[in-house]
Assembly symmetry: C2
Homo-oligomer: 370 residues x 2
Amino acid sequence: MIFSGQYGAVLTIDLHAIASNFRFLKSMSSSAECAAVVKCNAYGLGIKQVGQTLLREGCRAFFVASSSEALSLKRALLEIHKDFEIYILNGFERDFPEIYDTSIAPVLNSLEDIRRWVELSKSKRELLSAIANFDTGMNRLGLDKSETAEILGSSLSPDHSKISILMSHLACSEDPEHRLNHEQFRAFSSIVAKSKNRFRYSLANSGGVFLGKKYHFDLVRPGAALFGIGNFANRYTNLRQVVTLKAKILQTRSIDAGVTVGYGATQAVNRKSRLATVALGYGDGIFRGLTNAGFGYLSGYPAQIIGRVSMDLVTLDVTDIPQSLSQPGYWVEFIGEHQTPDSLAQRAGTIGYEVLTALGSRYERIYLGR
Amino acid sequence: MIFSGQYGAVLTIDLHAIASNFRFLKSMSSSAECAAVVKCNAYGLGIKQVGQTLLREGCRAFFVASSSEALSLKRALLEIHKDFEIYILNGFERDFPEIYDTSIAPVLNSLEDIRRWVELSKSKRELLSAIANFDTGMNRLGLDKSETAEILGSSLSPDHSKISILMSHLACSEDPEHRLNHEQFRAFSSIVAKSKNRFRYSLANSGGVFLGKKYHFDLVRPGAALFGIGNFANRYTNLRQVVTLKAKILQTRSIDAGVTVGYGATQAVNRKSRLATVALGYGDGIFRGLTNAGFGYLSGYPAQIIGRVSMDLVTLDVTDIPQSLSQPGYWVEFIGEHQTPDSLAQRAGTIGYEVLTALGSRYERIYLGR
């Protein structure tokens, strides 16, 4: 299979698979609404294409990290229709409150955030209601225990009419057995009770969806599972893989036993070897940590990375692969049928999430199902 | 120092420093011409801004990895003037030979590449001369020993009038003591002798520049050193740092001893602690490998990353930092005066090169000296 064009590597993103994963997550979410977390350029896969796909699939609520991401997403979604809500996870943006309107609202992470939001909502009538985020064990963002006690004890009152959802975030939901899941569930349930059921409630990220009905409340917020990554991808075969990454062989060569390959001359081969140098490197998210450890696949045959991964190139040991399958111009799979983002990640000591967000911008990007 | 705007983090790129590094490298290059390697979007720092800066500084020869990079660079350089040469390192582009013209030529890595180039140059008169690349120990790209013997033994002849430079690439030049430097020098010198001095010659990358005059030949090709990274940056204080990366504190909180932080609840604090959550994460190139290991700096005070780096956020232990210096809205330095790309990299088990190319696109980018 030979592609043409000016790129040495091709990233294929299957929007059908993302839509299918959204439908599956929805089917697993009891009666809760299913939102989508599309921060970090939709986990590196393209905020515009992914956002539009999910909106067409019936998703209405979207979560992003920052104001700039919210603006990109809004622009993309408006091309389809205007019935959507975007929530910015990083808190009230004090330097740029102009961003809030009928489609963009903050996730409020502190009493100070809430105070500023209440103030803004007095001066600006046309606003999407915000979300208040309570920390129940992640210790990252959200109202802490004393802030939670203060606001629930006093006045989630008419003043707070522009807050419609209370949420929290699970720290360990990828591990269904982790004690923290239940502790966070209990802490959040107490918030629900004390707020007298006057709001909608949201606790579950991707992992939370698979923890079962009691974790679902009114709104679930999967991210990773939409993109076929995370350990739930192994547990639920209905979750489809989304990404294929292939790169071209630029050159092959034979070297004698004892010869070293690449920068730093880190590893000498112990036999006469055939090598294939491929057009992608750590500048494309093939982590330098995959040096002498990662694999590419040629027609299903695994070929180990040999020598240091460099910025634009990796070299594979193709000694055991038929020469007819490993010629210049042929394509090597780094993510796809034989290697998921999670399994590539494991060899680099990280997780599939970081593989996706590190993919970089030098690929030809092909979207299936647009 | 409070910045405004829609971004949680600000990346400052000092074009003056890049220009200064170019001048320094030129001064260290004997009588050789000093080219610039600006592949991978100029090591992540912006091909347009960096390319234009170097062209204004008198650089004429540029090296990129791929055809798409060559086209971006050409577009940027033409805004200044048209006296430049761009060489594509990844070899003859058989799928897109239309790219070659009076300003873009390939680095030819095999006899097959050379054959195709000779063929093309017969049918197309207006072409920049190409470079032939000989492998002398890197074993990645370039003519291998037998190809080298074949072409030098026969006919670097009128047929090859559209090849003007012979090059090779050093694998271990960052280590001035490495035996391979001298072996590669000897192999390349033999190529020079056998080609009867009818070409221009190029061997040195950044490290090669600092190996001394005999490594310089006619053209040197620094990349990393232009951007203030690589171990030469420690050895030559004239090389200036180029990048500053700061991110905003979104929220601070106090937690009790024994409480865990972040995904997976990986680490419990052993004392009552103050935490600051900051608006950047592995989605921005702050590698997940910095979990419980990396540092940010507040007014010069080091603050360790605590818990897992997440996609959009890191949490720092600011217990020992004056509260007046660690409030929401304040900025934390991740790269700058207190931490170079190389020292950040070291804590993540990689090199400054990968730090730069992983920086991502969610920053507000400020260019100094444009």
